[in-house]
Symmetry: C2
Subunit: 363 residues, 2 copies
Amino acid sequence: MKILHSLPAEDGYYMPAEFAPHSGCIMIFPHRRDSWQFGAYSARKAFAEVIRAISRSEKVIVCARYDDYDCAREMLPDCVRVIEMESDDAWARDVAPTFVTNGKTLRGIDWGFNAWGGLEDGLYFPWDKDNKMARKLCDALDIDTYDRRSFILEGGSIHTDGEGTVITTEACLLSKGRNPRLTKEKIEQQLKNNLGAKKIIWLPCGIYLDETNEHIDNICAFTAPAEVVLAWTDDPADPQYAMSQKCMEVLANTTDAKGRAITVHKLPLPKPVAITAEECSGLDNMNGEPTRTPGERLAASYVNFYIANGAVVCPQFGDDNDGRAVEILSELFPDREVVGVYARDILIGGGNIHCITQQIPQV
Amino acid sequence: MKILHSLPAEDGYYMPAEFAPHSGCIMIFPHRRDSWQFGAYSARKAFAEVIRAISRSEKVIVCARYDDYDCAREMLPDCVRVIEMESDDAWARDVAPTFVTNGKTLRGIDWGFNAWGGLEDGLYFPWDKDNKMARKLCDALDIDTYDRRSFILEGGSIHTDGEGTVITTEACLLSKGRNPRLTKEKIEQQLKNNLGAKKIIWLPCGIYLDETNEHIDNICAFTAPAEVVLAWTDDPADPQYAMSQKCMEVLANTTDAKGRAITVHKLPLPKPVAITAEECSGLDNMNGEPTRTPGERLAASYVNFYIANGAVVCPQFGDDNDGRAVEILSELFPDREVVGVYARDILIGGGNIHCITQQIPQV
């Protein structure tokens, strides 16, 4: 594995869309007891269901800590590849490499990772094991890696159409805990240089109380070139109402890198989901403090789905809108089966199905 | 990865010879401070030289512990693949899978490993990390694995011509610390069932004071079908003299699986090599006891070479016979470059170049 210091865009590399064909998907076996209730037991079962759904149409590689390898191997289907790797938590989207290609070979980008805000407003300390994963995953996949550790970015804070357009949120990328010494223009340049993008669309915000500083991947996602889904509520009393409206306004008044207007499909949100006292009782404290308090609203959204080669794996919350979300996605992805996975046990950790996956593009 | 419980021979699988083409080679980055002097610093440099020599003609995969990954990545050439994996020590020959093939696909055999003798006369405790490596390596390589953990065997205790003959030593395979409840016939059957062998040639012993209970790979190795090298001394005062004589007697009076007589090439031993007080001072104690004492004779032998696709990597000891060993091997391997590597810092750990490598056959 070569560690590269050049710019992917100048080398002729770009990030393909998630809906383009994959050679596989990277995930991490959950273990963190202050993130996942009951010693990560419930999360492991939910992750395993996601893994089974994805592995029917693409190869899944699951990173497991030394101590968890045997458990992961036993819980997961034979077709899954379990590899040993230390991690601080289980958010492959944010700690695995972002893959770029020139159409012939694949390379990985190793962004800096600081647990969504470092000492400013990060979610745990230390985060060194997570920060080392992208490079090691490139090594395990036998591909070269771009060293971009000096630029803080998580995979969940960007979406691309693979045709020159990247969509992100100001709330996250301009947050004080990421790259406070870089202007918006400099950050935009980083995205262009590294992802091979021509145009960055900045939504102002994401999902209410999303502790990633409102990652794009919980509120808005490309389903095709010039087509997105946007998390939506019609309840003006919900703080999310104004947030989704503001995002809609941007999307309705912009064009993509190719000058096309963007069609926005509203994806209804579930009713607000709050963590229960019983669920909180299953979480270890972090440095003596609880990581969640009973009644705390969680950032539930159907937009946090994963597009596999043959399926769209979509979170379900036991909400009246579960079926409607599957219906809308089925219309938008007519060639893929939309598989709903009950994902409350993933949501409790702070993210959802998209956050725990990272696609490896097919070249 | 499937975990298989059937018999390789019945499935049509066999172990190819080391001199057949490889797709790569597995090694482990050394770290154990009671095995390798000066915090494994000297050994790392020697291992790196072996890795460079092998990596010129085949892909090398190096397993490094989480803590050692960065150091390994920096010390080793770009073309080497470094993967994270916990280990107790660094003897890939004995803890990596033995690979078998049916000519189309590759599978790994996951033997039981108990640190060369378990609680009877093993060399360290615990050995659980080593014992788990073979299965994890198969997973990392995305191949299926035979669960043979109930049978204790190290890769260094067997050699094969890939044509039905396996050569081993009674001193090791019949030792009390391996499989004491199995008769010699039962052990022979295990080798046949698992390696696809038709005939087992039993040498009585190996190299004097070889702490593996005298592994075959330090005294005798196939260089071609029906041709072996045998470690040799002409000094009747050396305890090795009688040992090599006894082995010669067996080899001279047997035939291989195909009924061919075996040509034996004598490979001279270096003069006895003893560890110095200064070297001992660089080794941590194990459970409060030194692992080596000054003046202790080490089991030095030129037979402990590795046959790579384009090279034979052979240990050198700063001995008068160094050049002669390279000369003999150059004659026996006319299509390969014989590369001598000064290997005293590997020998101090208790083995040599063959012991720290495990070939992955090409299929």
